[in-house]
Symmetry: C2
């Protein structure tokens, strides 16, 4: 599988908040245990439990599988052993037991399971460093490109199993590459933390997500707690701690909570606004005192395959576009510098912004000259020998997405009595947040028009949040607290939202004063007439 | 499989200490949960967790398998559900979730896994009553008759698996009979408590018992904690709590601890003595202030198949014997009143006592007339058409067993400064304790010579202890406290014990004054010359 060039490019997080204090989800405890003798012939397991208690690891539950190996492992290096202790259902439990001192080898896995792309980070739990990264397409995509199709396909027990196996296979493939590249055994991975949206978490755990998209939109679980890697078939230590970042609702999942964690907005005095645009525009508004969240059904306008010439962000996708205001000549760049095959989300946003700034479309999103499409790449230059275009229909679809995002933000702000002027920080989370051009996104009103130094891309905040939680029980408690404290507004049946959505018909916004820099540009170009 | 007639006979416990206060290892909690709606669309699992917390069940861990059924079960009867909550690794966990109110059906299983016989009790957790009992031979016996052979056979992974499967199959057969007879589904059994010796626990759990019989005699585990029935393949609810009564060493297992619990000796002011005679004579001495235990390698003298005409206590076994002092005519009775096929342990004890009281053998255990065997059943009356005899070799073997028991008790008493006169209660636990004739056992010195009202048979104390723990968390804490507080004397390499063992050559005892009633009988018959 080819990793999109872009995925490799953006591993570094622009918005990450520095180092995490190391207190990983597993700890390795080296023990030199007093060997049994006549008069001190306590059972092996009880002896180990006592030694762990004395070492300060608490009362550690020992699974049957490890009792079975206890006798041999303890005697292999004369009762010097290293115990890996992790979080269990309700207290610490033994994850692994190795002969001798193996504390210098201590690994965990942070995973971002996206609808399109899955990224796995092999993390050295001793240093906090990422030892290796691997990314690949989510194996579910060939079964169902968009998330609603997958939910539909997973409605039967068989379909659910196929969906689960597809993403687990993807993860196992990434794990295999990582352990081979980094020279470790899969069995040395003792903890996995997953950042993903609610539907992805359900499918990964084999839970039917059918109710997620039906009123009143209830997931099976928001916080699955501490599971075991073997329960879902991950090919690592089957007793490894498996933890999925908790969500707060069907449409505000662990990936969004990860964004909040990474941004630090839950610890700031000022009011911040975080948005993660995908199929749903998920957003969180708030500060250290309060957090509100909602998800507008943004629609898949930005996802590959929806726009007429749309494609996902793979090789050959037009990802950057500029249009000369005078000549209307188009400049573009593709991922991997390959022959153009289509336009991905970031390319589409650039097109729309350039259309607006060059007067090709008006503020209502209509082609001023009445045409039905605009050619970005002529047939002669394209890979398939066909024009790559943006159609009026594509623009109309996007207007709905933007309208949903705007309406959601405004409904949210009104519900807590906050005005646009109160926003002191803007965070762009999620996959689109990594790629979308900031100026273009502001120009068309997808992002607010704040001073640019207050606008921060979080990069792969889902993966970064998973990594921080993997490395820190403190961070884990923090995400749980974030999830608990967020007030979730369900917009799917909110009339106020619907009204705003319908009236939100202009680029960048009905009220141009909310976008001063865009207003200035349009005025400068004489496009405000 | 034919259940030995005797097993059916002795289900009622002579020594059981009345009723247990009901606080079973699982509790059933009926919940009417507020259904989800817009504005209150918390996830199903989190909603259930909250409802359980509000119902006082604590923070209950929900296993993945039950999350998978949550959505359907909760909606089947409009959010009225019954949750079965049991003990998990370190806190309560969800064992089952059923639609509607099913509190009137709440079942558990108490199991006595003996080397020879396995007995299963289906218990109504609401009333504490035993709804059904089923017994059968331990399926391991055809693979290896005695326990040392089984330990040997289990040394390889394959052999261990075979041993585990054999006893699990036995249990599953008993379970099938019980659930059919009592009209319940196997899935309704939510907890199992096992009373068994250490080796049986190891084999049941698939743990290699090889180190149990090698110095310094360390089991893999004394207290396995809370496991799940599915982990060992029991065909009941796979998430059912599986708890094995804790032991204190390789030779003082959960079956003996069960005996202590059932006797109540750990709560008595006076000093009691409990003995469980099998392959090993296991014994516990003590009071509410202290408890000491040891096991003498009694040897298999009393087990079926060792004595020349020996057999286990099945149909046709000579189980009761009297000899006329004048004519030396033998009267006997067999199990099931079938034609005699051999002599079981209780029959052998009767023979030896009668031999001593009729002067056939002397106090050193030798035939006074120099013969090498004594015929109990002549060939013409026996099932196989062969004489059923007790040989001098059989007697010599028995002398070693008795010597080991005597030596162990004396070593134990000396170690804590207690004399025979201090013993105020005697408890006979375990299978042999149910069947051996009290007077015969005293006559030959296997049991102490106390006033008879102070001598109590505990019946199947292993099964009864399991039943009490199944029904009461308080009793579970009590057995754990008993196991913790017992001081275990390892006699296998104790020189003092060896000296006593070797010098313990007389019936009933070297010092006849310890057995006043036997001394009187022998004197009366002129056998003290």
């Amino acid at each position: 599988m080819v990793v999109p060039a872009r995925s490799r490019m953006v591993i570094l997080k622009e918005g990450a908040k520095g180092q995490v204090e190391l207190d990983p989800l597993t700890q390795k405890v080296y023990l030199t245990i007093e060997p049994p003798r006549l008069g001190f012939n306590q059972a092996d397991t009880d002896r180990l439990r006592d030694a762990l208690r004395q070492a300060g690891a608490g009362t550690v539950a020992v699974p049957l599988a490890l009792m079975g190996r206890m006798a041999d492992v303890c005697r292999e290096k004369d009762w010097a052993v290293t115990a890996t202790v992790g979080q269990g259902e309700a207290g610490p439990r033994l994850v692994a037991l190795e002969p001798g001192d193996t504390r210098d080898r201590h690994f965990g896995l942070a995973v971002d399971v996206g609808t399109t792309t899955v990224v796995a980070y092999l993390v050295d739990m001793n240093t906090g460093e990422t030892t290796g990264t691997a990314a690949g397409y989510n194996g579910q995509a060939p079964l169902g490109e968009d998330i609603l199709t997958r939910i539909y396909l997973a409605a039967t027990a068989e379909g659910l199993t196929r969906m689960q196996e597809a993403v687990v296979d993807t993860l196992n493939g990434l794990i295999e590459r990582l352990v081979n590249r980094c020279g470790i055994s899969p069995d040395e991975i003792g903890a996995v933390v997953v950042g993903a949206n609610s539907t992805m978490v359900h499918l990964l755990l084999g839970l039917n997500p059918k109710l997620i998209c039906r009123e009143p939109y209830t997931p099976v679980v928001n916080n699955p707690g501490f599971l075991k890697a073997g329960e879902i078939g991950l090919k690592i230590n089957p007793r490894a701690v498996l933890y999925c970042l908790p969500g707060v609702g069907s449409y505000v999942g662990g990936d969004v909570i990860a964004g909040v964690l990474v941004s630090g907005m839950h610890r700031a005095k000022e009011i911040s606004f975080l948005v993660d645009i995908g199929t749903n525009g998920e957003m969180v508004l708030g500060s250290e005192d309060w957090l509100v969240a909602c998800a507008g059904a943004a629609g898949p306008a930005l996802e590959g395959g929806v726009a007429r010439s749309g494609m996902r962000a793979g090789p050959g996708a037009v990802e950057w576009v500029r249009i000369d205001p005078g000549t209307r000549k188009v400049s573009y760049r593709t991922i991997g510098d390959e022959k153009p095959r289509g336009i991905c989300g970031s390319g589409l946003i650039d097109c729309l912004a350039e259309f607006l700034l060059t007067g090709i479309i008006d503020r209502a999103g209509c082609f001023r000259d009445g045409r039905t499409s605009f050619t970005i790449v002529p047939a002669a230059e394209s890979a398939a020998g066909e024009d790559i275009v943006v159609s009026q229909l594509d623009i109309n679809n996007f207007m709905r997405t933007k309208g949903a995002v705007n309406a959601a933000l405004e409904t949210l702000m009104e519900s807590v009595g906050v005005s646009p002027a109160d926003l002191s920080r803007f965070y762009a989370a999620g996959a689109f947040g990594m790629y979308l051009d900031l100026e273009s996104s502001i120009t068309i009103g997808l992002y607010p028009d704040l001073p640019r130094e207050k606008m921060i891309r979080l990069g792969n905040s889902s993966g970064e949040g998973a990594r921080q939680v993997l490395l820190s029980n403190g961070k884990r408690l923090e995400v749980e607290e974030i999830a608990r404290s967020i007030t979730y507004f369900e917009l799917n049946a909110n009339q106020e939202f619907m009204n705003r959505f319908v009236s939100s018909k202009f680029l960048p916004h009905t009220n141009l004063d909310y976008f001063p820099t865009v207003k200035a540009k349009l005025a400068e170009r004489g496009l405000l007439g």
